[in-house]
Amino acid sequence: MTAPQHSPHAHDGGSVGRVMAQVMLALTPVTLWGFYLFGWPAIWMWLITVGSAMLFELACLRLGGGGRATLGDGSAALAGWLLALTLPPWSPWWIAVIGSFVAICIAKHAYGGLGQNPFNPAMVARVALLISFPLEMTQWVAPAPMFSGLGPDPVAALERLLFSTPIPDALTSATLLGQVKAEASRGVDLLASLPALGAGVSDGVGHHAGSLGETGSWLILGGGLFLVYRGVIGWLVPVALVTGLAVPAAIAHAIDPAHHLSALHQVFAGAALLGAVFIATDPVSSPASAVGKLIYGLAIGFLTWVIRSFAGFPEGLAFAVLLMNACVPIIDRFTRPRIYGHGATAGRGA
C-alpha cells in the first residue's frame, strides 16, 4: 500500500526517471503485440507521437527559461507513449503531433510542468482530439498482422501516414463498443448483433479492431502485476476501477441482456484495462490516501460504464478519468489521514 503513513520516512533511492523506466518496461509487451497486430502504420504513428512529445517538452523547457531539465527522465516520452496507445493505429501524422502538443504544452506545461498537472496529459490530449476530429479518431482498422501480407510495407505505411491516403475499405472495421452503439441506434439489440461482434474480444488476446492499448488485455494485466510487484503502483486503484465497471455492468446485463454488454466484454473491450493499470494510477493526478484511491477508482469505473451505456460516445474512460481528476482535490481534502496524536480519539484519552 502506498498510502502516506506518518514519519519516519526512508528514501529508497528511486527517482522519477527510474519509475518512468519501469512503467515503460511494463508497457513494452502490449505495445509490441499491438505493433505485430497493426503493422508498420502503427509503428510509425508511435514513433511520431513519442518523438514529437519529446520535442514539445524540449521546446517548453527552453521557453520556461531552462529550470529543472525534465526531458531526460522520460516523463514526456511516457505521456506520448500512452497517448499513442489510445489513438487509432493508422492515424495520420498530424493527429499524433497535435495530440502531443495538447498533452505536453497545454495539459502539462501550462500548469507548471512535471508533477503540477491536475489532469492526465494523455487523456486530455485524447479527449481534445476526439472532440476536434471525430471522423479521424474513429477510423479503426481490423488487425493486419505483420508478415501476413495484409498491411502495407514500411515505405507504403510511411507514405500513408504523411499524406493521409484513405484506408482501404477491406481493412476498415469498428470497435466492439462503437459497433454496439451503432447497432443500438439502429434498433438492433445485442442478442442479435453480439455473436458476430463479441467473439474476438472476450478472450482478451486482442484480435479485434481498436487502439494499440485496447488489444492484448492479458499483456496489460501482466504489466500491471509487474508494476504492483515493483511497488510503482498500488493495486487499489486498478482493482477499484475494474470493480466499479464490472459490478454495474453485471447487474445491468443480468436484468436486460438485450441492451447491456456483459461484465467480461466491458472489462476487456475499450481502454478499461489500460486505463486501470496505466492511466488512473498516475501518481500526480490521483488521490493520496487509501480511501481516496478507492473512491477514485470506483468512480472512474462507474462513470465509464455510465458513459458507455447511456451517453453519445461509445467509449467513456478518458472522460471518466478527467472528471475524477477534477475531483481529486476534494477527495484529498475529505480523506486526509489523521495526524498521529491529533484528532477525534486523541482528544478523548486526555
Partner: protein
C-alpha cells in the same frame, strides 16, 4: 501625454476591458466562435458604452450616491433595449446569431464598471471618449479571440461578414482550409484562447518593461 491620449491608451491597451480588467467574460466566451460575431458584439457593446458613459456623466451631479447603482442599471438597460430593437430591425440576420447575448449586454460588468468608476466622476467629453476607447478595446479583444478560434476551429476568417457589414465587405471572408479542430469552436476553445491572449499580453508588457529598464540604466 494629454489626458485624452491617456484615456484612449488606457481603453485600447493598458486597461483593456478583457485582457487587463478581465471583465465582460460572458460575451468573451460565448459569442467569439467567429470573428464576425465578436465584431458585431463588440460594436453593439461600444454603442451602449459610449451612450451610457455620456448619460451617466451628464447627470452625475443630480444622482444621489446612495441610489446611483439602480439608476445606472436602469439607464444601461434602456440603452440595451434600444440597441436590441435596432439590431432586430436593421441587421436581422446578425440578430438571429447574437440573439440572447445582445440582451445580456445589460449585465456586462464592464459597462457598469465604467459608469461607476469613470463616467460618474468625469466631464462629459472625457466620459464619452472613455466609453469609445473602452468599447473599441473590447471589440479588438473580441475580434482577436474570435479570429483565432475561427481560423483554428473552422478554417475560415470573417465568415458571414456581409451579414454584419453589408455585401460590400464580402471580400473579408476568407476560406483558409477545410475542416478544423472543432474543440476551438466549442466552449473550451474560448477559455484556451483567452488564456493565450492574457499570456501574450503579459509577455509583451514584460518584454517592453525589461527594455525600458535597460534604457533607463544606460541613460
Amino acid at each position: 501625454m494629454s489626458t485624452y491620449r491617456k484615456i484612449l491608451r488606457e481603453g485600447l491597451w493598458d486597461n483593456n476591458m478583457i485582457a487587463s480588467q478581465l471583465l465582460a467574460m460572458c460575451p468573451a466566451m460565448a459569442v467569439t466562435a467567429t470573428a464576425t460575431n465578436g465584431l458585431g458584439m463588440g460594436l453593439a457593446t461600444t454603442a451602449v458604452l459610449v451612450a451610457s458613459n455620456t448619460l451617466v456623466s451628464s447627470i452625475r451631479h443630480l444622482v444621489p450616491s446612495a441610489v446611483r447603482i439602480p439608476i445606472f442599471i436602469v439607464l444601461i438597460a434602456s440603452l440595451v433595449t434600444l440597441v436590441d430593437l435596432a439590431l432586430n430591425a436593421w441587421l436581422h440576420e446578425l440578430y438571429k446569431v447574437l440573439g440572447l447575448f445582445i440582451a445580456l449586454i445589460v449585465v456586462n460588468c464592464g459597462i457598469l464598471g465604467r459608469a461607476e468608476s469613470f463616467a460618474s466622476r468625469s466631464s462629459v467629453p472625457r466620459a464619452a471618449l472613455d466609453g469609445l476607447a473602452m468599447g473599441l478595446g473590447f471589440t479588438l479583444a473580441m475580434v482577436a479571440i474570435g479570429a483565432v478560434r475561427e481560423v483554428i476551429g473552422s478554417g475560415s476568417l470573417f465568415a458571414q461578414a456581409q451579414l454584419l457589414l453589408g455585401p460590400a465587405f464580402g471580400f473579408l471572408e476568407l476560406r483558409l482550409f477545410d475542416g478544423g479542430a472543432l474543440l476551438m469552436v466549442l466552449p473550451p476553445g474560448g477559455f484556451l484562447v483567452l488564456g493565450g491572449l492574457l499570456a501574450a499580453k503579459r509577455a509583451l508588457e514584460g518584454a517592453r518593461r525589461r527594455r525600458g529598464v535597460v534604457v533607463a540604466q544606460s541613460a
